[in-house]
């Protein structure tokens, strides 16, 4: 997913230069001109061809590739009826190829993580971020057994192949402690897991997902503790990709439908108003079979917008998604309009609910959507 790759690159650059500009008074949110050199890809492996995956090893880090992330999102319902959305994401950025040296705090790996909870009943969304070097046990990832962590925000495998994990994150009065169990098999997006980001060979990632995990555990919001159950989505992606010249932002959708299907869609928006032709997605059938969805097969219509008072970003806030070939016609609405991640780099990432038709049948559902490039163009940032 190019969208996340770009986000990752932006954030890493910010994290690194954060060292510099963080010293400004906090009253003025940092938004420095990023005029750094293009990332040095030399020596990193590229995603050129489909390859076989081995679990749980491939849940772990791929230090030969420059960037990698582990993305957990989901919709949860408390026993008392409250609805919550959550996001816990770990990013890895290799500054040089290869595994980090095991000496003191030396490292070539930077990790960062985003953690958010949407409290629908309370009408609140809170997003947090952390950064750390990948050394000394402060942050890191392992494949056998699978674990990824940044300080005390962590995901740990509960079984051998890593299809069950425990997620934990806490920061002050906001906390998450969930057990996730994959209820559908691992999905390899694109061509057997190779997901191209542009026409250029190598500008692609390896992209694996558990599109439906049963979630159970506890959520703490403002110090109030809720027992919750729900559904989660896990993305794991690694790549070494250069940046496209014309992108201004991207929209990404992960939707879980009541008929047992899941839909992943992304569209890369260009500065000329068009969409990159490489955009598209994957439809996962109830039995776990996957269908590639090309961009041309999808119509996404924005029905409403929401203006962020903090960043003045104008985000889409309601959609009509049609895939005529699959008899899909969905109304997608955010649980809350205000689910903007106002972090070092601002974007919108939020829980949504879905109603409509799938295979001609009435369905409901929920999911997560990510929107970038609305609070200021991404162009010029690169």
């Amino acid at each position: 997913m190019f969208k996340r790759l770009s986000l990752l690159l932006v954030s890493v650059t910010l994290a690194v230069s954060g060292f510099w500009y963080f010293t400004r008074p906090p009253a003025a949110p940092p938004r420095p001109p990023l005029t750094g050199p293009a990332p040095d890809l030399a020596g990193f492996a590229r995603a050129l061809a489909p390859q076989d995956f081995s679990l749980p090893r491939d849940h772990g880090p791929h230090f030969d590739y420059q960037t990698e992330w582990w993305y957990y999102t989901g919709n949860l319902t408390a026993a008392t009826g409250e609805h919550f959305g959550f996001q816990l994401t770990f990013f890895r950025r290799g500054l040089t190829p290869g595994a980090p040296p095991q000496a003191g705090l030396s490292t070539n790996q930077i990790y960062f993580a985003h953690f958010a909870i949407t409290d629908v009943a309370g009408g609140r969304h809170r997003g947090l971020e952390r950064f750390s070097r990948g050394a000394g046990g402060l942050a890191g990832a392992t494949g056998e057994p699978f674990a990824v962590w940044l300080e005390d925000w962590r995901a740990d495998a509960l079984n051998a192949d890593g299809s069950q994990v425990r997620l934990r994150a806490r920061d002050g009065a906001l906390a998450l402690d969930l057990t996730l169990r994959a209820v559908k098999p691992l999905v390899a997006h694109g061509d057997r897991g190779l997901s191209p980001k542009s026409e250029q060979p190598g500008n692609a990632s390896y992209y694996l997902s558990y599109t439906r995990l049963a979630a159970e555990g506890r959520v703490t919001v403002d110090g109030r503790d809720f027992a919750v159950t729900g559904e989660s989505w896990f993305d794991h992606e690694w790549s070494t990709s250069a940046l496209g010249p014309n992108g201004v932002g991207w929209d990404w959708f992960s939707l879980q439908l009541s008929d047992g299907r899941e839909l992943m869609l992304f569209q890369l928006r260009r500065d000329d108003g068009g969409i990159e032709p490489i955009s598209g997605g994957t439809l996962v059938q109830a039995d776990g079979r996957t269908v590639r969805v090309p961009a041309a097969a999808v119509q996404i219509e924005v029905l409403d917008t929401w203006d962020s008072p903090a960043t003045r970003g104008a985000y889409p806030a309601r959609w009509k998604i049609r895939i005529p070939s699959e008899q899909i016609e969905l109304d997608v609405t955010p649980w809350l309009p205000a689910q903007e991640m106002q972090l070092m780099f601002s974007y919108w990432e939020g829980a949504v609910r879905v109603t409509g038709l799938s295979g001609g049948q009435a369905v409901s559902g929920h999911g997560y959507i990510e929107l970038t490039g609305y609070a200021g163009s991404m162009q010029g940032v690169f």
């Binding site: 650059t13 954060g18 060292f19 510099w20 963080f22 750094g36 000496a103 030396s106 070097r133 402060l138």
Partner: protein
């Protein structure tokens, strides 16, 4: 009180006698200049230190400090941040090195984690610009960020190599970025700082390895959080407020700087003599005018005020000049003081010595106080004399003569007070200096009466030796005792200071030489250049000792480890020895048993402490103990002996390696002593060791020194330490010389008529010169004679009181006759030299004009 008319009188008077005003101004200026110069040096060093620590401390409120200067276990930081959730925490690795290509200047390596840094430090300014090569900062072990000051001074640009020596290893680092400080202050703070990634700094400073370490962890905590954390910490670490460490380090130099300040005040005291002398002379010279003024109804208070105002004017002008001159002198003094601080205490880079308003105020204030104090006696004199007697020319000298016994008595009382202060207030260094000053001033007050006695004794001898002129010379000195005695006293003070300081330094040096000979018993020493005195922990390649032992011709090796360990009394320098260094009994000041018994006690867990340590902690001669924080918590160690040690004025604790390794996890070494097999030449062995050990580039900075060379090196540092003292001593002599010059000039000018009368009676020019030289020579000789006992007393006080209280060292007093002889000759020569100008002036004036004057 002082009417404008009287004030004008003062001004006109001062202008009409430019030479005397000039000399008074010079007296104040020189005294103030010396004080300012030393103050400048002291405050600049302190300020530079504060600035650099301030920049490094940033917004840190607390620091997690290790038991020993080798550092904290790195995992404690993970525990702190990940398990306990103290997220306002940052790992810090700090150490010292030198930059061989940057004039060998000391550099402070600061290793930080950029992602943890933001809440703590902003040496980086607010430019917000992306710094090229930043990613390399993390990943390249050689990447270093430097400030613009260093970059500009040495023409360093991005990507340039920068060689740094840490311990024996010389590494080539790369300038990966230039820091952009937001202001001049921050810019200065970055001077000498090499900012690295924490991991790279660990490697450079040898803190990586299987049990990686951090120098400390910086934290931002509330007091409540700090209490909670303290309860959680293992006993081997301590949570301390952020400024304590820096404060302790800054305290190290307190005694050294106080000594310098006291010495600089001596120059001011000598300057006071000069002011007193000149003002007294002007009072005498104007006695007629003053008498007329009194007759006209001017009150005594007004006369007093006139004299005081005159002194104040002189003090202000002289003080301002002194500030300027002091600033110039200060530039040199800063270098000398900084050098000593770097040699003995901690690393500080002082690039400039800006004049602080406080320093200026202090200088001007002291100058004014000195001038007013010195003017008080003449002013009282002028104010209390009755109008009639005031107009009589001999009245003043008569009064002065009557005063002599009183002065003598007062001097003795002051001296006794000084001795009492020295003996009774034993704890205070300031009291010791006060006692010293009282003694010096007391002895100076005794000078006039002593001079009269001396001249009375000398007159018959002079008559026999030099005829009438000789007797005349002796009589002149007595006749003008109010002025001659001041010149003699000033010269005496300056010369006796020279004697005292010289004897002290020579005694100290001889003691150190003797001690070095007893201590340096190995044939060769392997070490790295010490940076930052006793505070730095140098860690050599741990394999060095084994490699050295394998070199043919080596009989045995011993390792030494120097670290700073935490203790309830503050940081303590700990020396770890791995075997008995065949210690001589003479090295022990107090010991429970012979050296073998002491060593056995040490292996059983006792320590021995250096004399300054025992002095500072007030340890008893027998049965004392030392509490140190170890990696196993606080431990009490019995003290088996107190040993002589002149290497550190903070004191050191010596522990056996076996006991050290039992309580501390550190296994590093700081030096290796090598014993040559019998029949092996030490020089040849040194070459062999150099070839074997220092051949590789990483070990290029390893010093392989024969016994003798190390001893010489120690003495070089010793001599460097006293360079500033020597400079000050010289300044005091210069001030005294000017004092004598001015006194003689005044004297000769006043005597113009008398001398003219003598010339009219047939005194030839040659005889005039002889007479004058006889007079000044007599004065010089008197000063020289008086300075001998005074100098001896000063030396006694310096050696047995000041040095002991400042540094805790026992010094064997060694009197060198040549020092005394030299002082006497200098004294006579200074006096004779000072006569030349007045004589030349006198020779140019006409006898008739001089006779007409009155």
């Amino acid at each position: 009180m002082l009417t404008p008319a009287l004030f004008k009188t003062v001004l006109r008077d001062a202008i009409r006698r430019p030479w005397q005003s000039g000399l008074m101004i010079l007296g104040v200026a020189l005294g103030v200049a010396v004080v300012i110069a030393i103050d400048l040096a002291n405050t600049s060093a302190r300020r530079a230190f504060d600035l650099s620590t301030e920049a490094v401390i940033g917004r840190t409120t607390h620091q997690l400090l290790p038991a020993a200067s080798v550092g904290l276990p790195q995992d404690l930081y993970r525990q702190l941040r990940v398990d306990w959730g103290y997220r306002l925490s940052a790992p810090v690795v700090e150490g010292l090195g030198t930059a061989p290509d940057l004039d060998g200047q000391p550099v402070r390596v600061l290793g930080v984690d950029p992602v943890a840094e933001a809440p703590f430090r902003d040496y980086l300014g607010a430019s917000g610009e992306f710094v090229p090569g930043l990613e390399r900062f993390y990943t390249e072990a050689s990447a270093v960020l430097i400030g613009p000051g260093m970059a500009e001074r040495y023409g360093l640009a991005l990507g340039d190599p920068l060689r740094v020596q840490v311990a024996e290893r010389v590494e080539t680092l790369t300038v990966a970025g230039l820091l952009q400080p937001r202001d001049e202050r921050a810019r200065r703070a970055l001077d000498g700082l090499l900012l690295m990634d924490v991991g790279a700094a660990q490697r450079l400073l040898r803190l990586d390895g299987p049990a990686p370490r951090l120098t400390r962890v910086d934290l931002i905590l509330t007091e409540a959080e700090a209490r909670d954390l303290t309860a959680r910490l293992p006993a081997s670490v301590r949570l301390a407020p952020a400024n304590t460490q820096a404060e302790t380090v800054a305290q190290l130099t307190a005694a050294f700087q106080l000594n310098l300040t006291a010495l600089s005040l001596l120059a001011l005291v000598v300057g006071m003599f000069l002011i007193y002398n000149t003002i007294m002379f002007s009072v005498v010279q104007r006695r007629q005018v003053l008498g007329i003024l009194r007759s006209l109804g001017v009150t005594g208070e007004q006369i007093f005020a006139m004299i005081w105002v005159e002194a104040a004017l002189v003090a202000v002008v002289g003080g301002l000049l002194g500030v300027g001159l002091g600033w110039l002198l200060g530039q040199g003094a800063v270098r000398l003081v900084t050098q000593t601080i770097n040699d003995l205490y901690y690393v500080v880079t002082v690039r400039e010595a800006p004049l602080e308003p406080l320093t200026v105020l202090k200088g001007l204030g002291l100058g004014l106080a000195a001038a007013l104090l010195a003017a008080t006696a003449p002013a009282l004199e002028a104010a209390t004399v009755a109008p009639v007697t005031m107009t009589q020319r001999s009245a003043f000298e008569d009064r002065a003569r009557q005063l002599l016994p009183w002065l003598f008595g007062a001097g003795l009382i002051l001296g006794a007070l000084g001795v009492a202060a020295l003996l009774l207030i034993t704890a205070s260094l300031v009291a010791a200096f006060a006692g010293l000053f009282l003694i010096v001033i007391g002895l100076a007050l005794a000078v006039p009466q002593a001079t009269v006695w001396l001249m009375t004794l000398a007159a018959p001898l002079l008559r026999r030796g030099a005829g009438v002129l000789g007797a005349l010379a002796a009589r002149t000195v007595v006749k003008a005792i109010s002025r001659t005695s001041v010149a003699i006293a000033a010269l005496m003070v300056a010369v006796s200071v020279t004697i005292g300081v010289s004897v002290m330094i020579a005694s100290f040096r001889a003691t150190v030489v003797n001690w070095l000979d007893l201590t340096l018993v190995a044939d060769l020493y392997l070490s790295a250049p010490v940076v930052g005195g006793s505070q730095a922990t140098l860690t050599l390649d741990p394999g060095l000792a084994a490699r050295a032992a394998a070199v043919p011709g080596v009989a045995a090796v011993e390792t030494i480890r120097t670290v700073t360990v935490d203790s309830p009394d503050g940081p303590t320098s700990l020396v770890v020895a791995d075997s008995q260094t065949r210690r001589s009994t003479a090295l022990y000041r107090y010991a429970s048993g012979d050296p073998d018994e002491v060593w056995r006690a040490m292996q059983a867990g006792a320590v021995i402490v250096s004399e300054p340590y025992a002095f500072r902690r007030r340890l008893p001669a027998q049965g004392g103990s030392v509490v140190l924080r170890t990696d196993r918590g606080e431990q009490t160690f019995p003290v088996a002996a107190v040993y002589y040690d002149y290497a550190s004025d903070q004191g050191r604790v010596l522990i056996s390696r076996g006991v050290y390794e039992q309580y501390w996890d550190d296994r590093g070494i700081s030096g290796v002593a090598v014993y040559a097999a019998s029949g092996v030449d030490a020089g040849a062995l040194a070459d062999a060791l150099r070839a074997t050990l220092a051949g590789d580039a990483a070990g290029a900075g390893l010093q392989v020194q024969v016994n003798r060379a190390l001893r010489d090196q120690a003495l070089v540092v010793f001599d460097r330490t006293f360079a500033i003292t020597n400079a000050l001593r010289l300044l005091a002599v210069i001030v005294a010389f000017i004092g004598v010059l001015s006194a003689l000039m005044a004297l000769q000018l006043e005597r113009a008529r008398e001398l003219a009368t003598l010339q009219a009676l047939g005194l030839t020019a040659g005889q005039l010169w002889r007479l004058t030289f006889l007079e000044t020579g007599l004065m010089g000789a008197a000063a020289g004679l008086f300075s001998l006992p005074t100098g001896f007393v000063l030396a006694l006080v310096l050696v047995y009181v000041i040095n002991l209280r400042s540094f805790g060292w026992t010094i064997q007093l060694q009197n060198q006759p040549e020092v005394y002889l030299q002082a006497f000759l200098v004294s006579v020569a200074a006096a004779v030299l000072a006569a030349i100008y007045p004589l030349r002036r006198l020779a140019r004036s006409s006898v008739a004009a001089a006779l007409r004057q009155e």
